[in-house]
């Protein structure tokens, strides 16, 4: 049996892992909790705990075994569940904090670092269960360690629920206040979506959508370092050549996700869902999306040309990745979370990258204004207005957008906030100081957009 590979190919794979930080970012198991209903909230909590711990019992061990056998790091094993607003709806006057705590205990028991799905879909309005969830959201995040929450407030087909947007502005302020000892860390676990995907494996926005099977395995790949190396190795390439190089690299990265996802699904006897074709940065040096944009020829990310560079990158990643996987889904695109990307942090601190440019960048990439720290005295109305702007971009452009923003209590522009681990370090960014209050206080819904006459 001859060796079927060139030595260069084998060493390329090893180099990607050992030097360029190639890894599988997450194996996320989706678990339906639709059969956990009961009129008694305590019984719902117990059913949630039992189901999660049973279904995900072997998730972490399986992930670690695959990681060792293939020699590829798998950074996170996570769980996404049915939006909790639906699960406890059968209760009367329910305190959903109990359900958040049940999720938290289950996550700790099976050894996953985050569990997503303390969520609601309210783009047209609120049901009883959505109201329960909104009442418990801030406290649920403050009193748990691993629970992540997401709320969908807009879709292209429904428009933007501005009442929900305003309430999310207030909840984000409340969450920051309740977690002020940890610099508003609760807000890092709360995402506000337009066009939320049902199969996203990435936190904090993962939940198990209502069209999903009983259980499923979804994968998130990483690899900004690998793309960075490829771009840096070709400083003279024109854009067509550059796009091809990125496509080829994205293909290889995504194949890892496909292999690991299929293997994990087989061993856990769970259907394989999707690979999320994403470039997810980490605070590690060289594992940065900003560095890729700068390697393409920009002096600093945030300068003129950044949106074009990101558009090319994002599209090439999708084209390369789409061929590498049989099922693609989730957020699929380059992420630009400020606090989790060393190059983004540097650009903000040097005054090269501002919120307005980030907003423009979200028009051409996944996923939105992500991990942005703003001054602690920012009003709920201003936060709501930021969410509304981002939702409008998603609604009109038929794409997912999101806001994960942290009004850090007691901090002002120029301060730095340490969230630790993958959440990184956030420079507190300036906002426009003019009020949006009267606009936000109108209430109601922004109607769904016309999808023709597109200009």
């Amino acid at each position: 049996m001859p060796i079927n590979f060139m030595p260069e190919e084998i060493m390329e794979t090893i180099h990607m892992v050992q030097v360029e930080n190639l890894d599988i970012r997450t194996i996320t198991m989706g678990i339906s909790l639709r059969d956990c209903c009961d009129p008694d909230i305590k019984i719902v909590a117990r059913k949630i705990y039992d189901k999660i711990t049973q279904k995900a019992e072997k998730l972490v061990q399986t992930g670690e075994n695959i990681s060792k056998e293939y020699g590829i790091p798998i950074i996170n094993k996570r769980i996404a569940v049915t939006p909790i607003s639906l699960v406890g709806e059968s209760c009367n006057n329910a305190d959903y904090v109990l359900l958040a705590k049940a999720m938290d205990r289950a996550a700790r028991e099976v050894g996953v670092n985050f569990i997503g799905g303390f969520s609601a879909l309210v783009h047209k309005g609120f049901t009883k269960g959505d109201e329960y969830l909104f009442s418990a959201l801030a406290q649920g995040l403050a009193e748990t360690e691993r629970v992540c929450s997401s709320v969908n407030i807009a879709t292209t087909k429904a428009g933007i629920n501005m009442d929900a947007v305003y309430r999310m502005g207030k909840i984000i302020k409340e969450t920051a206040e309740l977690t002020k000892k940890a610099d508003g860390l609760g807000c890092a676990k709360l995402v506000v979506f337009c066009n939320a995907p049902e199969d996203n494996p990435f936190m904090a926005g993962a939940f198990h959508g209502i069209g999903e099977p009983e259980t499923v395995i979804n994968m998130g790949v990483s690899g900004p370092g690998v793309v960075l190396h490829a771009v840096r190795s070709n400083p003279e390439a024109d854009f067509g050549t550059l796009a091809t190089i990125i496509k080829q690299t994205a293909f290889k990265i995504t194949r890892m996700g496909e292999l690991v996802g299929r293997e994990a699904a087989k061993r856990l006897q769970v259907p394989f869902g999707i690979v999320d074709l994403s470039l997810a940065p980490t605070p590690a040096i060289g594992d940065s999306v900003a560095d890729i944009l700068e390697a393409m020829g920009l002096e600093k990310v945030g300068g003129h040309g950044t949106t074009a560079a990101l558009a090319l990158l994002n599209d090439a990643v999708k084209k390369g990745g789409a061929m590498a996987s049989s099922y693609v889904g989730g957020l699929s695109g380059a992420f630009i979370p400020v606090s989790e990307d060393a190059g983004m942090i540097r650009a903000v601190e040097q005054g090269a990258l501002c919120l307005d440019k980030l907003e423009a960048m979200t028009c051409v990439c996944s996923v939105g204004l992500d991990m942005i720290a703003v001054p602690g005295d920012t009003s709920a109305e201003t936060i709501a207005a930021i969410i509304a702007d981002e939702a409008a971009i998603g609604m009109i452009n038929k794409k997912t957008t999101a806001v994960r923003i942290i009004p850090v209590p007691g901090k002002i522009v120029g301060d730095r906030v340490e969230f630790g681990g993958l959440l990184g370090t956030a420079p507190v960014m300036p906002l426009h100081l003019f009020s949006s209050k009267a606009f936000i206080q109108r209430g109601g819904r922004i109607p769904a957009p016309l999808l023709s006459l597109s200009n």
Binding site: P7, M256, L259
Partner: protein, 94 residues
């Protein structure tokens, strides 16, 4: 800890010296790991040996073999990886 495939790629990278192949193949023989092919080359000034081995008759599973090879590598001053063949198939072959 079985998967469908039984073939593993062992890579040895380091400074060239006497006894690397003997050291690694000796360990593999001890644990009944069958060597299917060997190639060696110099890549970027480093001695690089690539072996394809079959572990279907091996006395140890892949994870245990990885640890044994890692220890051996540290003893003789080279870096040894052992990875399931599929990772290379997936990445480099359509």
């Amino acid at each position: 800890m079985e998967t469908d495939g039984q073939r593993v790629i062992v890579t040895v990278v380091g400074q060239d010296k006497v006894g690397i192949i003997a050291g690694v193949s000796g360990i593999l023989a001890d644990y009944s790991v069958n060597i299917l092919d060997i190639s060696q080359t110099i890549l970027q000034n480093f001695f690089t040996m690539i072996m394809i081995v079959d572990i279907s008759q091996a006395k140890v599973d892949l994870q245990r073999l990885q640890n044994i090879l890692k220890e051996k590598g540290e003893q003789i001053g080279v870096k040894i990886n052992a990875q399931h063949e599929d990772i290379f198939k997936y990445m480099h072959r359509i």
